[in-house]
Amino acid sequence: MDIRVQQAPFDFGAECDRFAAVRGDTGAVVTFCGIVRDTDGQALHRMEIEHYPGMTEKALAGMAQTATRRWNLHDCLIIHRYGPLRPGERIMMVATAARHRADAFAAADFLMDYLKSRAPFWKKESSATGSEWVAAKDDDEAALKRW
């Protein structure tokens, strides 16, 4: 289990490659990468991610432990950036490894749902017309009911 909260960029390809370098009982690896989109219509200049140092790491570790127990994961990685980001930059990634694909998929999906609505990150988008905190979506809250 590896949890990293950092301002610096991460190398998605290298992390995927390292994570999938397994032997033995692991047959399935799922990875997710979140990328800064341009906002609809109005071009995004910058995204700023604020977080709650201390609680962030604690919340992510708790989610990873829950997922590991619930789906019998062999390994689990979460990297999440904070600070200023530009369109196309990679915000965060999750990776899960398990014997079978169903567990790896479910655990990654679960981690993303929880991370989205229960890890203390807040996004602020800036465009030519000003800055705005991204509102939480009802869909994201509803997604938690799946688990």
Binding site: G54, M55, W122
Partner: protein, 83 residues
């Protein structure tokens, strides 16, 4: 009782500080919020819609009726938007 109180995102912006140390006799989060709202318009505005506010006591998410006796750090923030 002395407490560190933290604010994030637009709560931090409306209140104007990221963190402060308070001396309070509040027994629950809700009582603490009532004290803060009575203090100043900035707090009254920030806490005007509690449906839009989340709270963590000692870095664990909790409800407004949570007891805060013994707590060291209380944080207020909007619904989270990670990922």
């Amino acid at each position: 009782m002395k407490l560190d109180v933290l604010y994030f995102a637009w709560l931090r912006e409306r209140i104007g500080v990221p963190r402060e140390t308070l001396d309070t006799s509040a027994r629950t989060v809700a009582e603490l919020v009532a004290e803060l709202k009575a203090r100043d318009d900035r707090y009254a505005l920030a806490f005007s819609d509690l449906d839009a506010v989340r709270v963590a006591v000692d870095q664990d998410l909790c409800d407004f009726d949570t007891a805060i006796e013994g707590a060291r750090e209380i944080a207020f923030f909007p619904p989270m938007t990670g990922g």
